[in-house]
Amino acid sequence: MMLTLSQREMEVVRRVLNREPNEAEWKLVDALWSEHCSYKSSKVFLRSLPSTGPNVVMSVEDWQDAGAVDVGDGWALVLKVESHNHPSAIDPFNGAATGVGGILRDIISKGARPIALLDMIRVGRLDQKGKWLVKNIISGIGFYGNSVGVPVVGGELSFDETYNDNPLVDVACVGVVKKDSIVPSVVKESGLKLVLVGFTGLDGLGGASFASRKLSGLDEIGAVQIADPFAGKVIIDLTLEVAKDVSAIKDLGGGGLAVAVTEMANGLGAVVNLEKVPLRYRDLLPEEIIISETQERMLFAVKPEKVEAVCSKFQELNYPCAEIGEISTEPTIRFLYKGETVAQLPSDLLLNPPLVVWPAERKERSNSDSRPVELKEAIVRVMTHPDLVSKEWAYSQFDYEVGTSTVVKPGDGDSAVVELPNGRLLALKGDANQDLCSEDSYECGKAIVAETYRNLATVGARGIALVDHLQFGDPRKPEVYHDFIEAVRGISEASKFFSIPVVGGKVSFHNEDKEGNPIKPTPLVVMAGLVEGKLGKGKPQEGSLVLLGLT
C-alpha cells in the first residue's frame, strides 16, 4: 500500500479513532488529506486573499469550489482555474485534454453553462521532446474543447528551460447561471439520495497494488487517464438539464468518490453501497472503487422522489446512472460492499487534517548572469523568442467561434472578449511571469495582478473577479515555501488595492525536474472584467503612439 501520509498524520488518525484503520480507511484518509484536496500546507495563507466584495454571489468556502460574481440582470458568472501538470508530462495529449474536462465539470457543478476556456501553457526547451509536448498539449486541449463546444478564447504559450521535465498546463473556464439557480456542492439535509453517473474504471488508481495483481510491470497504467470528450459533452448537457431537480452537485476529481462524497456531506454523514456503482471493469475491488479517479463522472444529491427523473435522462442516452447511497444524520462516512463495511470514519476527521506550516527561508539571489548586450542583438533575441512569435498555429486549432459570442478573438487583442447572455461584454485574461517571480515573488504577485488588469483595460474593461493558481516546487523546501508565501502576499495586496475579489484558486506543489530542482515559482492569475462604455477593438488606423509610465 502506497500512502503519502506522514508518520505524524498517521498518529493523529490512530489517536482520534482509538484503533488501527484498515487498508481501505487508510486510503480514504490519504485521499482526503492529500495536499491536492485538503490544502493543508497552504490554507493558512490563502485565507488572507480578499474573497468578499459587493458583487460576490458565492464566495469560496474552504477553497473547494468555484466562486461566482454578479454580472447584472440576474446573471452570475462562475470562474475557475486549474492545472494538469503531472499528467501532461507523461501523456501530454490526454493529460491536457482531461484537464479541460476537469475544469468544465467544476463549472457545471454549479449549474452554470460553460461559455469560454483559456489555456496557459508553459513548456521547456524546444527540442524533440519539447516539441512533442507542445504539439500534443495543444491538440489535446483542442480535442476536448472543440468536441464539447466551448470556445478556447485565449491563453498563453511560454517557453522556459525550468519546465523541461515539468510542463505547466493551466486551463480556466467561465460559465453563466441565473443567480437564483446556482446549485451548491454541499448538502444541508439528510435523507437525500446519492446518485452517480458514469462508469468507474481503473483510471488514476495509485497503480501499485492493481498493477502487481493483474498487469505486472505496468505501474503507470492507473495513473493514465484517457480523455473522452464525447462522454464529457453528454455529462455537460444532461447535468445542466437535471440541475433544477437536484439538491447538490459535485464532480469527481482527485480522490474520486471518497472525496466527492465526504465533501458533499460536509459534516453530515453518508452511506454508500459500492456494489451499486456502475463499473467499466468487473473485477475492481471495493477499496479501488472508492478512490478511482475515472473522468466524466458526476455525483448528485437528489430528493428520493426525483431520482427516477434524473436517471431516466441519462439512461435515454445509454449513459450509466445509479443511486448508490444516501446522506445520513450520523456524521460518519460509511462505504459498504454488499452489506459489509469496507470503511467507516468520522466526517470530521476526514475533513480536518492537521494543517502544516513549513519552515520558510529567503533564497540568496545572484545577479551574476547579467552581461552587457548590444542593442541590436537584444532586439533580435527578443523578437525571435518563441514566447513572442505569432501563436496562430496554436489557437487556429481551437474552435474559438463556437457559441457565436467571441467578440475579441485570439490574436486580436490583449484580452479575449465574449458576449454574455445579458448582452454585456466580458473580458478575460490570464498572466504569469516566472522570471520576475524567481527574482522576487512578492513583487511578482503584485505585478501579475496589475498586468492582467492592464490587459483587461486595453479592451476597455474593469476587473470584477479573479482566480489564482499557485504553482511551486516541494513546499517542504524552505526557499520554495518562502516564495509561495510571498506570492500569496503580493497577489492579496494587489487584489485589495484594485478591490477585486479572489473568488477561487488552486495550489499545485511538487513541480520539479528530474533532479528534484523546483520550477521557477509560477503563480498565475486569471481575471474577468466587464467592458464599460466602448469596446477597445481592432487595429488603429492612425494616431500617435503614447507611452505611459516611467521607463
Binding site: G142, S147, F230, Q397, E401, V402, T406
Partner: protein, 222 residues
C-alpha cells in the same frame, strides 16, 4: 417555415443555429435525434459539432441512426435539408450527399474565416444570394473528395476563393478537390457545407461586420 434543428449527442452548434434561424424569421425547434418526427417540419438543419464524438470518422455513427433515415425521406420528398460542418459530414456518411470528407491535408483542426464563391443558382439556398460569402470554418475533417471529378464539379455549390474571387490553392484551407467548400444534390434541395453560416450571422462577432451567413439561412424564413 417550421424548421427542425437536429441534435445528436455531441452536437455543439444547435443553439447558435437556432439563434441565427430565428433572426431570419424561421419557426425553429431544436429536436433530439431520438424524438425526430419529420412530418412536422418543412425543413431540417443538421448543425456542427462532434456527433458521437466523431469516433471512427466524423459523422459515421450519427449516419447510422434512425433519424438519418427520416432525413433521407425528407430529402426525397423535396423538403429543405441543410448540413453544416458535422452536418455535412453526416449527410455524406449517410449517402444522402455524394463523396467523402477526409482529414485536412495539414492534419490539424483549423479555425479560420474564409471566402466562398457561389457556383450554382439552381438551389433554393442560393438562387438570389450574394456572389461571394465570408464565413468561418472550424474543422478537422473537411477535405472534400469524390472519385469522379466531373460529377464533383457539377455538384459543387461553394468554392473557396481568395480576395479576388479566384479558387487558388492558397485559398483552399484543407485540400478539397476543386476547392469545394459545399455541395448540393442535383435537385438543389439538399445542401452540405463546411463553413458555418450561423457564425457569420451576427455583425458583432464577424471581423468586418458582415452577416453573409444569413444569405444561405434566409430560405428557412419564408
Amino acid at each position: 417555415m417550421r424548421t427542425a434543428v437536429l441534435k445528436f449527442p455531441g452536437t455543439t452548434c444547435e443553439i447558435d443555429v437556432a439563434k441565427a434561424l430565428k433572426k431570419v424569421g424561421a419557426e425553429v425547434e431544436v429536436v433530439q435525434f431520438n424524438k425526430f418526427d419529420p412530418d412536422r417540419y418543412g425543413g431540417v438543419v443538421i448543425p456542427g459539432g462532434f456527433s458521437f464524438g466523431d469516433y471512427i470518422r466524423a459523422g459515421t455513427i450519427a449516419a447510422n441512426s434512425e433519424a438519418m433515415k427520416r432525413v433521407k425521406d425528407m430529402a426525397d420528398e423535396g423538403k429543405l435539408v441543410l448540413g453544416i460542418c458535422n452536418g455535412f459530414q453526416i449527410l455524406v456518411e449517410s449517402n444522402i450527399l455524394k463523396g467523402a470528407l477526409l482529414p485536412n491535408l495539414n492534419l490539424r483542426f483549423i479555425t479560420r474565416w474564409v471566402r466562398v464563391k457561389v457556383r450554382r443558382r439552381d438551389t433554393q439556398f442560393t438562387k438570389d444570394s450574394k456572389e461571394t460569402l465570408f464565413m468561418p470554418i472550424a474543422h478537422m475533417e473537411g477535405r472534400y473528395f469524390l472519385d469522379d471529378e466531373e460529377l464533383a464539379s457539377r455538384l459543387s455549390l461553394f468554392q473557396y476563393v481568395d480576395e479576388s474571387g479566384l479558387p487558388t490553392p492558397e485559398a483552399n484551407p484543407n485540400g478539397s478537390i476543386l476547392n469545394i467548400a459545399g455541395i448540393s444534390n442535383d435537385a438543389g434541395n439538399v445542401v452540405g457545407l463546411m463553413p458555418h453560416p450561423e457564425r457569420a450571422s451576427f455583425s458583432t462577432i464577424s471581423p468586418d461586420g458582415s452577416t453573409d451567413g444569413l444569405e444561405i439561412l434566409k430560405v428557412f424564413g419564408k
